[in-house]
């Protein structure tokens, strides 16, 4: 296997230029093939002197990639060879920019971090929904397509709850990149999707500060400090870090997985809507925990009992965001009330639901009006006031409500995009009024129903007869 090089042939695949030579595998381009996808071949390093984990990582990668539904967030697996004779994986060559390129330029602007982070969180959520936890998230394992979508490229250490975890047995040392590894992973837990959220928090920290949250541990002892130590808050290192970004990062890096974001979809939502992030103690923290806290946490860490592994997709549940699409001001009050009743019933049914109040309006020219309420800012505020007025009787706590004014010539498309970007679970919207002589946006609800990525409930007030 070691004599392979450009020009060699495996099962009819001709190797081209070598593009990666890692400790676990070598990657070559494939040449002489015309197909819809540019392809690469990944060949694990096996044989004398190589680590046993390489074989297992190959098997795991094949199993996980083979089981994932085709999608934009991972390379498509095209062919593979038998692990006993000629192990290889042929897959899509993803053209894109590595997250590592941004990390090397850190600190990166907060808006850029939010964009990169939100795309990565959505990619993770896609994975978690299919019962896969990545467990080896690092800047060299993430690519961004030209469309902005994030692609996860190495699944050699992943956990898929439908398959035996071949790596669990090899855990004399925690496998994976120690720099971004979650505390529960240090203890051998390989089934918690929130471990990926922790690693993403570590990457966001690095993008924001240019530093690693916990340095590069060289021994198991140093690695275990993660069970009780918290990182220096980003704002103490880079003063210009916005409060919302620190809030998000420190939430991801919580030691106890139960204190982190419950799902990557929630994290994606916060990154996509920074102004809506509810700020807590995380945002204002300016130093690491005091020694007394550390002693308490250190003692707690000694008693840590890993929980048994349920499938990740059942744990993260449906993404609990409900988009309520409200018409612009002066819409009829009975429809507002009907939508509020519908929202109220959902909130009562499940206390995890969050409500995103959204109105889609045509864009206003910046200097369009003479009076204040006709200017772009004035109109924007008027819409926000309208949304808040609608939501107030729901009496929901602040962190379960967000408000968004989407300016677009195409309101239906704007709502659909919003639902996709934020992994909305359900859309509530008003029905076009029957018998109304003029509809403001003809066909919006029809288009949303046809194209939305989730359930759509069209609400109609009872007619007063």
């Amino acid at each position: 296997m070691n004599s392979l090089g450009p020009g060699s042939e495996i099962d009819g695949f001709r190797l081209g230029e070598m593009i990666h030579a890692g400790s676990m595998a070598s990657i070559y381009r494939l040449t002489g093939r015309d197909g819809p996808l540019p392809l690469i071949i990944k060949i694990p390093r096996l044989g004398g002197g190589e680590r046993a984990v390489n074989v297992i990582a190959f098997e795991v990668c094949r199993m996980v990639l083979g089981a994932l539904a085709q999608g934009p967030h991972h390379p498509t697996l095209v062919a593979f060879g038998d692990v006993e004779t000629t192990p290889y994986l042929v897959m899509e060559h993803v053209e894109g920019v590595r997250l590592n390129d941004w990390v090397q330029r850190a600190p990166v602007a907060p808006e850029e971090i939010a964009r990169l982070g939100a795309a990565l969180a959505l990619a993770l959520h896609d994975l978690h929904r299919q019962d896969v936890v990545h467990l080896d998230l690092k800047p060299t394992n993430v690519l961004y397509r030209a469309s902005g979508e994030a692609v996860l490229i190495d699944f050699g250490l992943a956990h898929h709850s439908h398959f035996p975890d071949l790596l669990a047995e090899e855990l004399r040392f925690p496998v994976g990149n120690w720099v971004y590894m979650a505390p529960e992973q240090v203890l051998g837990v390989r089934c918690d999707p929130r471990s990926d959220i922790y690693a993403l928090g570590g990457i966001l920290y690095e993008l924001a500060t240019g530093r690693l949250p916990f340095g590069s541990p060289r021994s198991l002892g140093q690695l275990r400090q993660r069970l009780y130590r918290d990182p220096v808050p980003p704002r103490a290192l880079v003063a210009s870090t916005p409060a919302w970004l620190q809030e998000i990062i420190l939430n991801c890096l919580e030691i106890d997985a139960r204190n982190r974001y419950a799902s990557a979809a929630e994290l994606a939502f916060d990154l996509a809507n920074p102004t809506e992030v509810a700020l807590s103690e995380h945002a204002s923290r300016n130093r690491r925990a005091a020694w007394r806290t550390l002693v308490r946490r250190w003692l707690a860490a000694r008693r840590f009992e890993p929980a048994p592994c349920p499938p990740p997709s059942t744990r993260i549940g449906p993404a609990p965001i409900v988009l309520v699409a409200l018409g612009p001001a002066q819409s009829d009050e009975s429809l507002f009330e009907a939508l509020r009743d519908a929202a109220q019933r959902l909130i009562a049914a499940d206390d995890r639901y969050r409500i995103a109040c959204v109105t889609a309006v045509p864009p206003a020219a910046a200097l369009s009006g003479e009076r204040y309420e006709d200017t772009a800012t004035g109109r924007h505020i008027k819409h926000l006031v309208n949304l808040r007025r609608w939501a107030k009787p729901l009496q929901l706590p602040e962190e379960r409500l967000t408000y968004h004014v989407l300016e677009s010539e195409k309101p239906a498309a704007a709502l659909i995009d919003y639902a996709k970007m934020n992994d909305v679970d359900q859309i509530l919207m008003g029905a076009p009024r029957s018998g109304a002589p003029v509809r403001l946006f003809p066909g919006v609800s029809a288009q949303v129903m046809a194209e939305a990525p989730c359930s759509v409930t069209v609400v109609r007030p009872r007619s007063e007869s």
Partner: protein, 247 residues
């Protein structure tokens, strides 16, 4: 070769018929019956005749503890309902069925594959493989790439890791698991005729050796009819309820 594996059928004709129809649709061409063909259920004669037919066509069949009890071997581990059912079974079966049961081996080895009802470590002791220690003993004693067994009614897959300890896995029904020849596997295929994990669907497994995959299945069947027959036969009501509830 696609090998369909059934265990703990327990005289449940409806369950085994549904499983056989299921695996035929998937192209099964070989069969193994991993013991406990009788006991508990209401159709010992029909079930034994069906399996004997498969055996005549080359199917592997091994003896289970309920089968041994039906032949008159005393078994202290059986509870009173099981003993009642065995006594009833002995009255139902004739010389033909008894002769078939008498001829069954405890263990069958086919090259790299081992078939046994309970643990390969001591097949005649009917050890329940419910912990890693018992799984390891069975794997070591069996000394085969694949050990297929039953006795424990829940589906479970153990695989031997590089560390020399077996790892347990609870299979997801319908999801093919790559089971390469370079590892050692112990598959407990689950009970076809008396599932006990709060699901009343019949268990079986299908091994596809060409593609190196093992799939565990749960098959719905007419459990109400099977339960009704248990009651009509005058067998303990608890045995009918088990089929209805899967518990």
């Amino acid at each position: 070769m696609k090998l369909a594996l059934f265990a703990d059928i327990h005289s449940n004709l409806e369950a085994i018929t549904a499983c056989l129809a299921h695996d035929q649709a998937l192209g099964a061409d070989r069969y193994a019956f991993l013991g406990d063909l009788v006991g508990y259920g209401a159709d010992p004669v029909a079930v034994l005749d069906l399996i004997e037919q498969h055996a005549a066509n080359g199917a592997v069949v091994v003896l289970g503890n309920h089968d041994a009890a039906a032949l008159g071997h005393p078994d202290d581990t059986l509870n009173s309902n099981a003993r009642t059912a065995i006594a009833w079974t002995q009255a139902q079966i004739g010389a033909k069925q008894r002769a078939f049961l008498t001829g069954l081996p405890l263990i069958v080895r086919d090259e790299n594959i081992l078939f046994v009802h309970a643990s390969a470590a001591a097949p005649e002791q009917w050890i329940y493989v419910t912990s890693l220690t018992e799984a390891e003993e069975s794997i070591r004693a069996g000394n085969a790439g694949y050990i297929f067994s039953g006795h424990v009614h829940e589906q479970k897959l153990y695989y031997m890791g590089a560390s020399g300890r077996p790892m347990p896995f609870r299979p997801v029904p319908g999801t093919p698991i790559p089971t390469g020849k370079h590892r050692r596997w112990l598959a407990i295929v689950g009970s076809a005729g008396q599932p006990r994990d709060r699901s009343n669907k019949a268990c079986y497994a299908l091994a596809d050796f060409e593609r190196g995959r093992l799939t565990f299945f749960r098959v719905p069947y007419d459990h109400e009819f099977a339960a009704q027959k248990v009651r009509s036969a005058g067998l303990p009501d608890r045995l009918a309820r088990r089929l209805e509830r899967g518990a």
